[in-house]
Structures are given as C-alpha cells and as structure tokens.
C-alpha cells in the first residue's frame, strides 16, 4: 500500500492565523472562545470560536480588494490553503497532478442570509448568487492557487466533511489519480446554522465542557485548515520534507438518527476500528485520541462509549480541543488534523479545558493539564457529523 506523508499544513481558526499561533495557544491553555464580534446575530450571547479577524482584515491578509465578491468561507479557505502550499513548497510551475478536496456545508450562506431578499427582489447582489453553493466556495479557494489544480471537488458531510476530504485524498493517491492532494475544509459562522443548532437546543450558553458530566452543549466555531498529502516516494523525489504519515483513515455510518448519535456509538466504533485496520495498527498502538468531543450530552457519551469498545481498559490519552476552537463544523476535521499533527510532531497533548467531573457511564477522564515532552507515535482523531457520518484518521511519526 502507498505510504502517504504530510508535507504541509495551513490553518486559521479562533486560535488565530497559522500553525504557530495554533500551537502557541494550545500550549498555553489559551481558548479562542468568547463573545462574537463580527457575526451580526440576535444570539450573540452564545459564546463562539470566531476567527479574530473581520472580512476586511481577511481580505488584507490576502491582498483582495473590497469590491471583489468573495464569501468569508472562501477567504478563510484561501488563507489556510496558502500556508499549506507554502509549507509544502508547492510551486505553480510544477507539472504534478494536484487535487484540491475541500469540505464545507455552510458555503456562501453567511452572505446569502444577508442578501437573500436582494437576490429575489433586485439586482444589487447578483454576484453573490453564484457564490452561494458549496462547490463555488471550493472553486473560489482553488483560484488562490491558479494554474495547476488538476482536479477539485467538494465534500459536504456536515461536521465530518474535512475528514472525508482527507479520506478521498488518500484514495486518490492510492489509485494513482493524483500526485499531491490538498485536503481539509472551511466554514464560517452564519446565523443560519447558529440558529439551527440553537433550535436543536445543543448550544451551551457558556464555554463548552467536553466530556464533563455537567456539559450542556457545544459552542460553534469557524475556520479553515488543509493538509498537503503525497506518497512518500513523490515527496522524496521532489525533495519535500515529510512532517508525518497518514497511516490510516476510514468512514462509516451510524445509521441511527438524522441529528443524534446512537447510545453505543456504533458508527464511531466502526470508523475507529476500520481506520486502525487501514493503518495496520492495534488499539494499544494509539497514544492519543483527539476526540470529536463537542460538549453536547449526546455526542460525548456516545463517542466515549465507542472509545471504550475500541480501547477497553487501555484508554490512551484523550482530549477534545473544541473548548479552544469551538466547533468549526465542516472545518473541524481539518482543524483537528492540524492539531493532531502538531501534538504528534511536537510531543505534547493539549488539555481538555473546562473539565471537572467524569461522565458516569465512561471509564476514563480526559487529559486536564497540557502534557509536554510525551512521546507520541500514533494519534487518532475523530470527526462525526449529522446524518451519522463518522470518520477517523490516524497520523503517525515517520517510520
């Protein structure tokens, strides 16, 4: 089987812009969750992991003028793509087949919800009609890297979109349909999904408490993150530095409920087991699990039980980083892939913030103090979405 290595990554989230800002925040227990400054909503009292830049500031980072029509989701995506491509030293003249796979669900909704009446009643905002759908968002991001994207597509499996982008990317490499894959996801906050999650009563009005007995719900977040994947042979041949390996990944379906997870976490269990098989690893090989851990009563118990089924009494270190970033929905898998790669390569495990008491039915507690200087060889990260779309990825140190 093709050895897949990671040669670049880029991220923007509530923790700031870039891989270094992300690592710094995690190492120093600095959460990005707070009061929303940029999304204009009646429910601004709900804390969220908002990217700390206005649209104008994001445009400045990219040198995009104010009269060019682009959505916030695409701005975030472009920034993350740029960092990932630079780190991987992808140059625009190369004739390598580069696939760009991006996950999103909100797409251009954040602009559509502002301009929807204009769309229907006048011609003031027509340029944003074509930017509404998910694919348009990917297309606008790919243009940041003009000329040499050999294929692009968009995955929309709600909160596991970015993880599924990585899984598709791995298969494109394994079937020799691409030489390099840039995979991840992007999502910005919108009233549409903030209000939607609110109607489902799964938002916490305080900072979220993943895996805590008294957890009340999630805090939404936003951001974008991509990793650059290629075969080990391809990376060596072009002299790109391999950061770590993607040793396995898998996608399974919970097939339980449109928006809730099954009590025993069947989909999650099957996804983790299949990812382990794909990696040729045993549960005991996993040193750290970066959990989906949204902080909703349903997810954390279901995911915890699934982990107990996988790991039994030998639970690896576990933490959710949602209390740092909020839940960036479609981008979550991307953000947490980057975080998992950081923990693996810098040998630390970020604390699961806001935890005080264990969930009764679970046999483990998450890591509550950031651990540094720990030797990690294999890190598993979970991304679960509405519709029971459950996916797991395993990153490993270079063999």
């Amino acid at each position: 089987m093709t050895d897949i290595v990671i040669t670049g990554m880029g991220i923007i989230s509530a923790l700031g812009h870039g891989v270094e800002a992300t690592a710094e925040a995690l190492l120093h227990h600095r959460s990005g969750i707070g009061k929303m400054r940029f999304l204009k909503t009646k429910h601004a009292d709900h804390p969220a992991g908002e990217v700390p830049f206005s649209d104008e500031q994001l445009r400045d980072i990219l040198n995009i003028s104010n009269d060019f029509a682009i959505t916030r989701t695409s701005l975030l995506g472009r920034i993350a793509l740029k960092e990932a491509a630079e780190m991987a030293t992808l140059n625009e003249e190369s004739d390598a087949r580069i696939a760009f796979i991006s996950g999103t669900t909100v797409g251009g909704m954040e602009k559509s919800e502002q301009f929807y009446r204009d769309f229907l009643e006048n011609d003031d905002r027509n340029e944003y009609i074509a930017l509404h759908d998910c694919g348009a968002c990917t297309d606008m991001i790919a243009k940041e890297f003009a000329g040499n994207i050999s294929m692009q597509t968009t995955i929309s499996t709600a909160c596991s979109s970015a993880a599924n982008a990585v899984i598709l990317g791995a298969d494109l490499l394994r079937t020799n349909r691409a030489d390099i894959v840039i995979a991840g996801g992007t999502e910005c906050l919108s009233k549409f999904h903030l209000d939607g999650f609110n109607t489902l009563m799964i938002l916490d009005s305080e900072p979220c408490k993943p895996f805590d007995k008294a957890r009340k719900g999630l805090n939404l977040g936003e951001g974008a993150a991509y990793i650059v994947m290629e075969s080990r042979a391809h990376a060596e041949q072009r002299g790109a530095k391999a950061i770590c390996q993607l040793s396995g990944c898998a996608n399974r379906c919970d097939a339980f409920h449109q928006t809730a997870s099954s009590p025993e976490g069947e989909g999650a269990y099957q996804a983790m087991m299949a990812a382990l098989r794909d990696a040729g690893l045993q549960p005991a090989d996993i040193d750290y699990v970066n959990a989906h851990g949204t902080g909703t009563p349903n997810n954390d118990e279901s995911e915890g039980r699934a982990m107990m089924r996988v790991f039994g009494n030998q639970m690896p270190m576990v933490s959710s980083t949602k209390a740092y970033t909020g839940h960036p929905t479609s981008a979550a898998g991307g953000v947490e892939n980057v975080i998992s790669i950081l923990t693996l390569t810098r040998n630390f495990v970020p604390a699961n913030l806001n935890f005080t008491e264990k969930i009764d039915s679970l046999n483990f507690t998450p890591v509550t103090e950031t651990k540094t200087g720990v030797q990690l060889n294999h890190v598993l990260t979970n991304s679960f979405g509405f519709g029971g779309n459950d996916s797991s990825c395993i990153f490993s140190k270079i063999k």
Partner: protein
C-alpha cells in the same frame, strides 16, 4: 477487476422509475420543469412521508428502486452528489430566520437542510453502516460520487456501491439562477434548443441513481471501464486529457460508437462540446439527454443512466441523437463527457457487458 452498472433508475419529468422515455419521451414545453412524482407508498410509509421534503422522498424512492432492480438488499457504500442539498428546507429555514428575526424557528427544516441528509436517510432506511459520503461540487457533484464509488471498488473495499445525484429546483432558486442567465426564454422545442448561439437551458430536478458492483450479474446494464474528473481551461488540454483517459482505458477514439454529452442548448455550455467533438469525433454520433431531463447540478447522472440503458437495450432512439448517424446498429462503447462552466470536467467510458 471489472465494474458493472447493475441497475439504474430515475425520477424526472419523464415517467418515473422506468425507461418509458426510450419509446414515449415527454418533451418539455417550458423552462421550469417539475418532476413527475411516483406513488411513494411502496417505498415510504405515509406517516414518514409527511415528515420528508420532496427531494428526500424522490431520492429515497429512486435509491430503493435501483437497489430492488439490481437485486441488492444492502449496498456496501452509499455515495451521493447534490449541488444544492435540500433547497426547499433550506429556503424554509432561511425565510424563517429572516422573517422571525431568529426567534421561534422550526427545527425540522434545519435538520433536513444539510446536504448529507439524503445519503443519511438512505442509510437509515437500510440500516447501512458502510461507507457513506456526499459530494456538493456544482455540475460535477454526481461525477465526484461516481469516481469515489469506482475507487472504493478498485481498492477492493466494497463489492457494491449505490451512487446517486439529487437536486431540486424551487421557484425561488429558479428565479435566482435565471438572473445569472441559466434558463431559456420562450420556445424550448428540440429544434430551438439545438440552434447554435442562444443562451439558456431548460431546468429539471435530479433524482437518479445507479448500483455499481464488481460482479457481472444477469441483469447488469453495462460495464464501467473507468471515470475521471479534472479541471481544465483549454480545448488543447482537454484533448490531452481525453487521449490519456482513453489510453488508460486501452481504448481509442475510433472504437467509440457514440459520445454522450451534457449539451443543454445553452451556448456557453455547448460551445466546449461542439469544439471538442468537431476536433476529436467528427464522424461519431453525438447523443444528448438534457433536453429530456433538464439542466441541474446533478444532471450528469442522467447521462450515465441513459447510456447504461442504451447499452443494455442495444438501441438508440432518434430523439437522443444530437447529430450524426449510426452506420451500424451496434453500440458497444459510449464515452460520456460532462463539464461545468468549462472548468470542471468528467469523462466516463461505458461498454456493453460481455457475457
């Protein structure tokens, strides 16, 4: 390993869940076309049906019909494409957010608005825990799902995969896309759609699915040699891509009996096909399908669906021929070409089953 299309079904403005369009096609009379709804009772219980949006009902019925025709109770993977997701529910929730100023909102339209609702509902219906994914990439949403399914089969992870393309066109979305020049004004007759240089296509929803498998079952419609999606911005590059694709399929342009294209009547869409066909396939008949199934982000699914059934039926109705003549009445290989806005392309080669 060979891949077969074991069954394929559709709901559209043709007779639903059957291939009557082969003999009794329904011609569109306007740009805005709504699908002909089948009797859903055989697929979905009435109580359940009331809670489901129109697109979701169509998708579930099309998927279940495809599985039944393919003799498959449980596919190993469910992979869907949808350019816009469940628009009707999205609009309901969006209008409520705006009208009610974010207060007292109904949860159900939100729950059923996400793009993966469709794959999820099919998995729920079947209790299928296998690989499950959803692509939302404009005019290559279905094509992306098809490629994923082909890779799952090629990597030996699954024996069967249900692939679908599902989109709905609401009056509001029709109006919005109309502002961008998507639709034809006035006459939508076949002759008029074939005329060069006129902008706009006719709309249709999409609910089309196919069961892919690695076994040549008795009822298999055809074999799928390979499929590919790529980005491309010039005809020269497109020609290179075409040659390398056919090369990989161990096929040559001379062996192609017909080219099935996403020709829609919209000049901006059709020029690319005309240019390529003229350069690469000057003597090979061109087939089209969007005049019978309409344009939508997942319309390309009907290209695969039609070509599969043509190969199985061993005949091509005149109404599907865009231009050219069949010298011999044998159709062994159909190349399917699709593109979206001259940027995202797909190529698929289907061949007759060799028993």
């Amino acid at each position: 390993m060979s891949i077969y299309i074991q069954s394929a079904s559709q709901i559209s403005f043709q007779q639903p869940l059957c291939e009557k369009w082969l003999d009794e096609p329904i011609l569109p009379i306007q740009s805005f076309n709504q699908p002909m709804e089948p009797d859903y009772k055989q697929f979905i219980a009435p109580a359940e049906s009331r809670r489901m949006g129109k697109l979701l009902k169509r998708a579930v019925a099309t998927a279940l019909d495809t599985l039944a025709k393919g003799g498959c109770e449980m596919p190993d993977a469910i992979i869907s494409g949808t350019g816009l997701g469940c628009v009707e529910n999205t609009e309901k929730f969006l209008n409520a957010v705006i009208d009610n100023e974010e207060e007292c909102l109904p949860p159900t339209p939100f729950m059923q608005s996400t793009h993966n609702t469709i794959s999820s509902q099919i998995s729920l219906k079947l209790q299928c825990h296998g690989y499950n994914s959803t692509y939302s990439h404009r005019g290559t949403s279905f094509d992306s799902a098809l490629l994923d399914a082909v890779m799952q089969l090629q990597l030996g992870r699954v024996n069967t995969a249900l692939v679908g393309g599902y989109d709905e066109m609401t009056p509001a979305y029709f109006k919005m896309l109309g502002k961008l020049g998507y639709w034809r004004d006035g006459d939508v007759s076949i002759d008029e759609l074939k005329k060069d240089g006129i902008p706009g296509a006719i709309s249709g929803g999409a609910s089309v699915s196919a069961l892919l498998g690695n076994k040549n079952t008795q009822n298999a419609l055809c074999q799928l040699v390979d499929t590919e999606i790529f980005s491309c911005n010039s005809v020269e590059k497109l020609q290179n891509k075409l040659h390398s694709f056919l090369n990989r399929c161990q096929s040559e342009t001379a062996e192609i009996d017909a080219v099935m294209c996403g020709l829609s009547g919209d000049k901006a869409n059709d020029d690319v096909y005309r240019d390529l066909l003229c350069k690469e396939f000057p003597t090979i008949p061109t087939l089209w399908y969007k005049h019978l199934f309409g344009e939508s982000f997942c319309a390309s699914g009907y290209g695969i669906y039609c070509a599969s059934h043509l190969l199985n039926a061993g005949k091509v109705p005149d109404l599907l021929i865009y231009n050219g003549k069949f010298e011999k009445f044998v159709v062994n290989n159909i190349l399917i070409i699709n593109h979206f806005q001259n940027n995202d392309f797909s190529l698929t080669l289907l061949t007759k089953c060799h028993n």
